[in-house]
């Protein structure tokens, strides 16, 4: 079918389940796959592989390997949508799946609309007529959900920021359009240089937004959680308990963890990006010093700090230093080694900090469930629908931001190449519309209203 653009989405919930499936459908499905899939046998010509075959290899973003995967090829019309379809079976987990989806979008697909695979399956004659009404209902209900989750996902400040950027773009576009429409009343002399600066600034703002999404904001990659504590307070043991596997090296020797370890953890519907750090203490060991500095740095950027204190040892300078780091942050204080005789009581700790204090024993796996509950209540009041729809819109936001940024750089190119003013409007409009898709708003009559509202037209 040449009818439609190529679309992609996660076909399974993006959670820590073992396997996740990403589906790509449309005439470019195979070419998207070729760009990002490196077969185990490097000489394999992927485009030439027959339908209904499975291939082992890796998903690569440039030189970076994102995941080991199996790729399933189905050529239209013999696929669910009756279009060329590629399914990538990757490791489950929000982070991995999102990064692969991001890559797929950058390689030529666009995020699927709610219910779009099913719609195509129907339009391409794959689904029985009697199911049509169900398809229509599905589209409308998914659409409602998508809208809801899309909006709920945008934190107030991000939304405001996008609105602000968008209205700046609209203003410039309207000014240009007004001047082009009414050249005798509105002059464009010297405007190009001014516009260049403005566009550069807006582009920079978008870049910041993109970076913030890269750095692991809550909604993309989970809550960035940093575990802090003095050496041998039991940070790594806690990490291992939470993960249920021996990932960090646990020894009796202080300073074993010299760098930052990062792990993904799924707490029910909540995703945590856990960072174990080197214990904080004054040290002469240079490698360990670097580790300590990194730990402090990580703490600054963290969404959540878990401060592990060894309750069997009294508080000292290093603990004070850590308590300072907690100020103004979301944090929980964990008194570990509750199985041993305590030198610090919860009451003592509570006097030193505003944060909630919990008793745990990483070794005996006590207090872990309570800890999980506390984390949940810190981040979410009531229910938050974390389903796959939410994540698709997430990828959609990023795709849109990228598109807007590209359009703005094209405006800058046009200015630098000395193109006439009219050409700026094409890409400005694109950028405006791209940002609009994040807010669920279209151009509509915005531009015309802005032209008339802000600029005095002659006649």
């Amino acid at each position: 079918m040449k009818e439609f653009e190529t679309i992609a989405a996660a076909a399974t919930a993006m959670s820590s389940s073992g396997i996740g499936i990403i589906r790509i459908s449309g005439e470019d499905a195979f070419s998207v796959m070729e760009k990002i899939f490196r077969p185990h046998n490097r000489n394999k010509n992927m485009a030439g592989q027959p339908s209904y075959t499975v291939h082992y290899g890796t998903i690569v973003d440039g030189e970076e390997v994102l995941d080991e995967v199996l790729v399933l090829l189905m050529r239209g019309p013999h696929s669910y949508t009756a279009e060329d379809t590629v399914e990538i079976d990757c490791h489950g987990g929000r982070l991995v799946m999102q990064r692969i989806l991001d890559l797929v979008m950058r390689s030529g697909a666009r995020p699927a609309e709610p219910g779009e695979f099913t719609k195509r399956a129907f339009l391409n004659g794959r689904i029985d007529l009697s199911q049509a009404e169900a398809v229509m209902d599905l589209i409308q209900s998914r659409n409602k959900m998508a809208l809801k989750s899309s909006v709920s996902q945008l934190q107030g400040s991000v939304r405001q920021q996008i609105e602000k950027l968008r209205s700046r773009i609209l203003y410039e576009t309207a000014f240009l359009e007004a001047a082009l429409d009414d050249p005798e009343h509105i002059s464009l002399d010297g405007y190009a240089e001014k516009l260049y600066k403005t566009v550069e600034e807006i582009g920079g703002e978008i870049e910041k937004l993109l970076k913030s999404s890269e750095n692991g904001r809550i909604l993309r990659e989970g809550i960035k959680t940093v575990i802090l504590g003095k050496p041998n307070a039991g940070k790594s043991s806690l990490l291992n308990v939470l993960l249920g596997e021996e990932r960090a090296i646990v020894t009796e020797i202080e300073g074993t963890t010299r760098d930052v370890l990062e792990e993904q953890l799924q707490l029910g519907d909540l995703s945590l990006s856990l960072l174990d750090t080197a214990g904080i203490r004054s040290t002469e060991d240079i490698v360990e010093q670097i580790g300590v500095e990194r730990a402090k740095k990580q703490a600054e950027d963290a969404d959540l700090i878990l401060y592990v204190a060894d309750s069997s040892r009294p508080l000292d300078e290093s603990d004070e230093e850590i308590l300072d780091l907690l100020k103004g942050k979301k944090a929980l204080v964990l008194l570990n080694k509750s199985d041993l005789e305590s030198a610090i009581t919860p009451q003592m700790m509570e006097k030193r900090t505003n944060h909630k204090v919990l008793l745990i024993s990483a070794k005996e796996e006590q207090g872990i469930r309570e800890l999980e509950e506390e984390i949940r209540s810190l981040f979410f009041q009531g229910e938050l629908d974390f389903n796959d729809e939410v994540l698709i819109t997430n990828v959609r936001h990023k795709t849109a931001l990228q598109r807007a940024k590209e359009s703005l750089s094209m405006v800058m190119d046009s200015i630098q190449n000395g193109m006439p003013e009219d050409f700026y409007t094409i890409d400005l409009t694109d950028a405006y519309q791209a940002l609009g898709t994040i807010l669920g708003e279209e151009m509509g009559e915005d531009l015309i209203n802005e032209i008339f509202g802000k600029f005095c037209m002659g006649k």
Partner: protein
């Protein structure tokens, strides 16, 4: 026995303004026996407001009308007294031709054409009633009845009543029930239309004063000249014939004193006192509007433009108003150069009946009344060019309906005319609609320079373009294609001659040879400038060089836009049946259902542009259509 005069023709055109003229000419030229009614034969093709044709985006419309076989471009080429190409440095898509017309010559010349067109007769009478047969959704037009009772039977009626329906002119507390320029209003037709179930709106527009040239001190104004080399509007006009002596316009400004006079008298403005009920256009604000809305501006431009060669009347562009007579005198004479101004005609606002054009199909035929068409200001637009464009399409489609042919519908990727009509019949329109380049999504493709390449083939298929003109167009197409290919292959070396020419245009010298096309792409150079480096350049038809230049220079942008058009057309080519019952479709949201029922879009694309119809609704619609197709099979 009560006897009335009765005549039978095929098509009736009500009104002889810019829409009416094009509609009547199109019908008659397509062999339809046509009668055109006007309340005054002396007011055919009258320009009751500004004395110019064209301008940004409107110039595009005139070119398109011409490419389809309409008359406006030819007529202005014969009667202009100054001409300018606007926006020349700002990109080919926004180049716009604008000419000052000799108003009375324009009108006279158009009248001459109409009077000498076969199958066309002109009748001076007020049409009072539309005659129909049938009822409900099956009503069919049968003809019209004049105010004096005469009956003209016709299969098609085209309403081009402009601003005449129940017209009222207002300034200060003076209001007269007349059309523009004190002409007789048409007061009966609205009732007849309402009886037929047509919903009427009331819009408002305005015009500035006309002043006596002898009372103006031009030494205090800046002179505005026409272009040295005039480009004609019509693709058929020989450019040599339009290189005539031109007259000047003049630029002056309002000042704080002007604004103070206006502010002090706002309470006497009918706009602010509530005497005017109609909705006015934001793009064409009266001077009192500008002063109120843009309070921070301490001056506004005023263009003094001649109304013709044989009159002393001058148009005061930028200062339309409905303030009382005494305030007008004070306000105009506060402007530099107008200190001793003598007003010939006062500025006034005019209110008139028009329709919500969503009652029309894109063919400009009423959804409820088969055979009834309408065009121009009656449809809620504004401007001579917008009117003419709709008149032409309404005329063509009335003729095609009579000849039992499919209507001509231009889409948004084909023409500004397509954008204009699609906007009118699809979107809610709360003010007189003016064309603007920013309304056209694909304007880089819809340029005024290529209107013939876009539309003349269609004009030929419609029957309004001669065989000779069509063959010339085909030759032009061939030459453009061939020349683009040739220029890509012409090699330019690093000779002294080359470097000298580059230096002359401040272009970086060449280090090694490149193709001529590469040089054309440099912003400071173009196809024409580089002629000395291109000894084998063939003789080309008029306009070919311009096309080659644009195609080579802006290739990347043009391709991008073509891709967008391909996407657009996918939905545009998915047609929706006219009789589609939206109540039958489950899962449509109520708002979408109501809007779809009202607009009755002809394609999925059009449906998607209706405000209140979401992409999810469109998906539902697509699925339902497919299901229906399945049932039929």
């Amino acid at each position: 026995m009560n006897t009335v005069y009765k005549e039978t023709c095929q098509a009736v055109v009500v009104g002889a303004g810019h829409a009416g003229c094009e509609a009547a000419l199109a019908c008659a030229r397509l062999g339809i026996e046509t009668v055109m009614f006007t309340v005054s034969v002396d007011s055919i093709a009258l320009m009751p407001c500004n004395p110019n044709i064209g301008g940004t985006s409107k110039g595009h419309l005139v070119r398109e009308i011409d490419a389809l076989g309409g008359e406006m471009g030819k007529n202005i080429d014969k009667t202009f007294i100054q001409s300018k190409m606007l926006n020349v440095s700002k990109g080919p898509a926004v180049h716009s031709l604008r000419a000052q017309a000799d108003k009375s010559e324009y009108s006279r010349s158009m009248r001459r054409v109409l009077e000498n067109t076969d199958h066309l007769s002109i009748v001076q009478a007020e049409v009072a009633e539309i005659l129909t047969e049938g009822s409900g959704e099956n009503r069919i037009v049968k003809g019209v009845k004049t105010a004096s009772g005469a009956i003209y039977e016709a299969q098609a009626v085209i309403l081009c009543t402009g601003t005449y329906l129940r017209a009222r002119c207002i300034y200060g507390d003076v209001s007269t029930y007349t059309g523009p320029n004190g002409l007789q209003a048409a007061n009966h037709l609205t009732d007849s239309l309402k009886k037929l179930g047509i919903e009427m709106y009331r819009f408002k527009t305005g015009t500035p004063a006309r002043i006596d040239r002898r009372s103006i001190d031009f030494s205090k104004m800046e002179e505005q000249f026409g272009d040295e080399k005039v480009v004609p509007f019509s693709f058929t006009t020989d450019p040599d014939t339009v290189q005539i002596p031109q007259v000047s316009c003049w630029l002056t400004y309002t000042n704080e004193k002007t604004h103070e006079i206006i502010r002090n008298n706002l309470d006497r403005s009918p706009l602010y006192s509530g005497m005017i009920e109609g909705t006015g256009p934001r793009y064409c604000p009266s001077i009192e509007d500008k002063v109120v809305r843009f309070a921070d501006k301490n001056r506004h431009q005023v263009f003094i433009e001649p109304e013709g060669l044989y009159t002393n009347e001058m148009y005061v562009g930028g200062m339309s108003s409905s303030l009382p007579e005494d305030v007008q005198h004070a306000m105009y004479s506060s402007v530099a150069g107008l200190e001793h101004v003598k007003i010939v005609r006062n500025a006034y606002a005019i209110e008139y009946d028009c329709i919500d054009a969503r009652q029309l199909y894109a063919s400009l035929e009423f959804k409820k009344i088969h055979g009834l068409f309408s065009g121009g200001q009656f449809n809620g637009s504004s401007g001579y060019e917008e009117a003419a464009a709709q008149g032409l399409i309404a005329g063509i489609n009335a003729a095609r309906m009579i000849q039992k042919k499919d209507p001509l519908i231009l889409d948004r990727s084909q023409a500004y005319i397509g954008v204009l009509i699609d906007d009118l019949v699809t979107k809610e329109n709360r003010e007189p609609y003016r064309m603007m380049t920013s309304r056209s999504e694909y304007r880089l493709l819809l340029r005024q320079d290529n209107a013939d390449l876009r539309l003349t083939k269609i004009g030929y298929e419609m029957g309004l373009i001669s065989e000779e003109r069509y063959q010339e167009l085909l030759e032009k197409e061939r030459q453009i294609e061939k020349e683009i290919k040739r220029v890509e292959k012409v090699f330019v070396g690093t000779s002294e001659e080359v470097q000298e020419l580059l230096e002359k245009y401040e272009s970086t010298p060449l280090h090694s040879g490149i193709s001529l096309a590469e040089l054309i792409r440099r912003p400071e150079l173009n196809y024409e400038i580089l002629e000395p480096l291109d000894p084998d350049r063939p003789r080309l038809l008029r306009g070919v060089a311009e096309q080659v230049n644009i195609h080579i220079k802006y290739d990347g942008y043009i391709r991008r836009q073509q891709k967008q058009v391909e996407q657009f057309q996918k939905l545009e080519y998915k047609k929706l049946p006219e009789n589609l019952d939206y109540d039958e479709i489950p899962s449509l949201r109520t708002e979408a259902r109501q809007k779809l029922k009202m607009v009755k879009p002809l394609s999925v694309g059009q449906a998607s542009r209706i405000s209140g119809v979401s992409p999810a609704d469109i998906s539902v619609l697509l699925v339902w259509l497919e299901q229906r197709k399945g049932r039929k099979n």
